[in-house]
């Protein structure tokens, strides 16, 4: 026959003894939580059964939150050496989502529209977005500083600046919610016209990323308060946060100041 073992070397252990098969219950739980959310969406928006939708949400959200919490506590500090590189690939995929929304925007504005903004658009605030930009950039700097302290071994300093970052992120979300409420109050909604569609979907898409970023921070903050700080986790989480920050520049320049 062809090849022998000579070109491939591995140790000669007994084949019968091997490690137990790795298992984790959390991926399974999270997946079916996602199914419940999908069912809830259809119950609410397709079949108009809000009560059933709330029940599905009541099943799905605890499953996802519990699943993520279980996953984090199971995995924290183990085998995240590669997660930084993996986050790079994930960010590529995320960037393409924003790209699609921007592409839809450009098609509407450059290809179809005769006048822009279309009728029904109210003037957008011009100062608030600048403040929001400043807050988000500041949060990027604070998490960078926190990471720096983590590498230097200053656990308390790390936690302090992490909390500042979370507060800045929450402030950003608060300002965004304030702005949305006012615009909706003025009669400018996602269904008003093409620009309303773009404005609320793009800022909403970005806001959902801020929410996820904050959720990652909070999920890691709990073990961090108990002294369990995983460098791989925080390097990765911070990379994601910087991405959310950078995307905001595109959102702000395309949606508010063009």
């Amino acid at each position: 026959m062809s090849h022998g073992g000579e070109a491939v070397h591995h140790g000669h252990g007994g084949h019968d003894e091997h490690e137990a098969w790795g298992t984790s219950v959390w991926p399974f739980v999270i997946s079916f939580g996602v199914l419940a959310l999908a069912v809830a969406f259809m119950l609410q928006f397709v079949y108009h059964k809000p009560f059933a939708a709330v029940i599905a949400l009541g099943l799905g959200i605890p499953m996802i939150l519990g699943g993520v919490a279980g996953w984090v506590s199971e995995a924290m500090g183990r085998g995240e050496g590669l997660s930084y590189g993996a986050m790079g690939w994930f960010i590529l995929a995320e960037a393409m989502i924003f790209m699609s929304f921007f592409a839809a925007y450009w098609f509407m504005r450059l290809d179809v529209a005769l006048v822009w903004p279309p009728a029904g658009t109210v003037p957008l605030p011009q100062v608030l977005p600048l403040v929001m930009t400043a807050v988000l950039v500041a949060s990027s700097l604070t998490i960078h500083h926190a990471e720096h302290l983590m590498h230097a071994g200053d656990k308390r300093g790390f936690v302090r600046w992490l909390v500042v970052t979370i507060l800045l992120g929450a402030t950003f979300l608060g300002m965004s919610a304030y702005e949305w409420t006012h615009l909706i109050h003025d009669g400018f909604t996602i269904a008003t016209n093409a620009f309303g569609t773009i404005f609320f979907s793009v800022t909403g898409l970005h806001g959902s990323h801020v929410v996820v970023g904050l959720a990652i921070f909070v999920a890691g903050l709990v073990p961090a308060l108990m002294g369990n700080i995983s460098e791989g986790f925080w390097r990765t989480a911070s990379l994601y946060w910087h991405f959310v920050d950078i995307i905001w520049f595109f959102v702000v320049s395309q949606v508010y100041y063009w």
Partner: protein, 524 residues
């Protein structure tokens, strides 16, 4: 066997087998849809249903489940999971739990897709879901969007996982130039998934936003643009053809190198030129799906050129495959039959695609059965043959047992005959009669009746062939003879461990020497 160890498993081999079971189940359901459609079309007028919407739901379920529930998960889920860590000498993937999340999200996606048959208003939007129809139909478009979104997300996290795994977890001594061609194909496929799937996810999300939340992305009356959807959709769905093509041609490479006992011919040209070229060009040919949707001529001509350009890297891959056979010590076990079948079917599919790329011809062929026959040859059938051949090829590794060779060959030939009856006839009536695709009935085309009847018979024949293969696997896994660790005599790393491999794959991680290559077959 411990059921809990299977359901909650994070081991790449078991995750892979879960992917295989789920995708074969999806294949069965989508195949039944195809048979229902063929039964309906076997004669003019209502045959088994008098309701065209029911037919449209079958059409939707067949396409959506075959592509998103069977081919992509079988190729980038099952084969990637089972083979890639073994081929690169890794104990597992980089993120085993993420892997488990991806397979269960895949199951959730398939469950959603199957809900189609239990809700009162199933989606009837085909797998393409074009607006404005998909935003005004009484069918449940949200089911379509959510299915695509969840399967897409499963794909993305799978992609992140595998790119990281191959980049950082190769065995000592296993350089980039020594990777199996299959591993390169998986890398190419996942790079494309990461770039393009999010765009599909966005496109179908926008449909649901339009339909259920009152946005105006695709509503021209309010400043939206219907063509945006077609652009976003095909920006993913054309590369999706290569996401299917690359892994299946990778499987064929492994099989042909093993059964020809030859190293892969022109490895560098195949990998860097073939796979690299496809990934590079894949992102800028989608507009050829919009040839008849209206566009400026300069764009149409440019797209024709870049579409034809795709045949260069594809040609490099085919030359490599055929060159690998040259002067080989070829034997014709079942996996080899399937692999050679793929080359044959793919060549027919590829060559009949050229008229569709040429703008002057495609205007006449567009929306006819010719298109349906072409893409079934090039992607549906060639891909499915590669999946079946690949399962046969790694069957002894997965189960530790051997399938029945005779029944394997019988199954292959029955399927092969059935497939050519169906899809050759389809291209024929598309080109000669111009029979429009998608229609529930064809009373205006009585001259197509005989051909339609013949295709229905062919569909039953190919169905029988697939069922024989499935039974062969089930019986072989249960009570086939013991296969040994390396029944094919391949030097590739997955054959150096026991069959089936234990958790962790090797007692201690392997390392490879300077002269080793996955295709260095010794002299016989």
């Amino acid at each position: 066997m411990n059921l809990k160890e299977w359901i909650f498993t994070t081991d790449h081999k078991r995750v892979g087998i879960l992917y295989l079971i789920g995708s074969i189940a999806a294949f069965g359901v989508a195949g039944i849809m195809a048979l229902l459609m063929r039964a309906e079309l076997s004669a003019i007028g209502p045959t088994i249903t008098a309701d065209p919407t029911t037919y449209n739901v079958w059409l939707y379920a067949h396409g959506a489940i075959m592509i998103l529930g069977f081919q992509i998960p079988a190729l980038t889920g099952f084969f990637a999971n089972y083979c890639v860590p073994l081929m690169i000498g890794a104990k597992d993937v980089a993120f085993p739990r993420v892997n488990a999340l991806s397979v269960w999200l895949f199951y959730v996606g398939v469950i959603l897709a199957l809900l189609t048959f239990f809700i009162p208003d199933p989606p009837d939007v085909m797998w393409t879901g074009y607006p404005p129809y998909s935003t005004i139909t009484a069918g449940n478009t949200a089911l379509y969007s959510l299915t695509v979104l969840i399967l897409g997300f499963a794909s993305i996290i799978g992609g992140v996982n595998f790119l990281t795994t191959v980049a950082f977890m190769r065995a000592p001594g296993l350089g980039w130039g020594k990777l199996n061609v299959f591993v390169w194909c998986i890398l190419g496929a996942f790079v494309m998934q990461l770039i393009f799937v999010p765009v599909l996810g966005s496109a179908v999300t926008l449909i649901s936003l339009d339909k259920y939340l009152g946005t105006h992305f695709f509503d021209p009356a309010m400043g939206g643009d219907v063509l945006t959807y077609q652009n976003l959709f095909w920006f993913y769905s054309h590369p999706a053809v290569y996401v299917i093509f690359l892994p299946f041609i990778g499987v064929v490479f492994e099989i042909i190198a093993t059964f020809a006992r030859n190293p892969v011919f022109n490895y560098k040209a195949a990998v860097y030129g073939g796979i690299g070229g496809i990934v590079l060009i894949s992102g800028e040919v989608w507009i050829h799906h919009l040839y008849v949707s209206g566009m400026p001529d300069w764009l149409r001509i440019g797209q024709m050129v870049s579409t034809l350009l795709i045949s260069v890297p594809v040609g490099l891959l085919v030359i490599s495959l055929v060159g690998t056979l040259y002067k080989g010590a070829i034997s014709f076990e079942t996996p080899m039959l399937y692999a050679l079948g793929v080359v044959f079917l793919f060549l027919i599919g590829g060559l009949t695609g050229i008229p569709l790329a040429i703008t002057s011809l495609t205007v006449n062929l567009s929306e006819t059965y010719y298109v349906v026959g072409h893409f079934h040859y090039v992607m549906a059938v060639a891909g499915t043959f590669a999946i079946f051949g690949g399962v046969y090829y790694w069957f002894p590794k997965m189960s530790g047992r051997m399938y029945n060779e005779l029944w394997g060959k019988i199954g292959f030939w029955i399927t092969f005959v059935g497939v050519n009856i169906v899809f050759w006839t389809m291209m024929d009536i598309g080109a000669r009669i111009g029979l429009p695709r998608r229609y529930y009935d064809y009373a205006q085309f009585p001259q197509a009746a005989d051909a339609q009847h013949l295709m229905t018979i062919g569909a039953v024949i190919l169905g029988v062939g697939f069922v024989i293969a499935l039974l062969n696997w089930i019986i072989g896994a249960a009570k086939g003879p013991k296969a040994g660790d390396n029944p094919w005599g391949s030097p590739s790393l997955e054959w150096t461990t026991v069959s089936p491999p234990p958790h962790g794959n090797w007692p201690s991680p392997p390392s490879v020497s300077e002269e080793w290559s996955p295709y260095a077959h010794g002299k016989r």
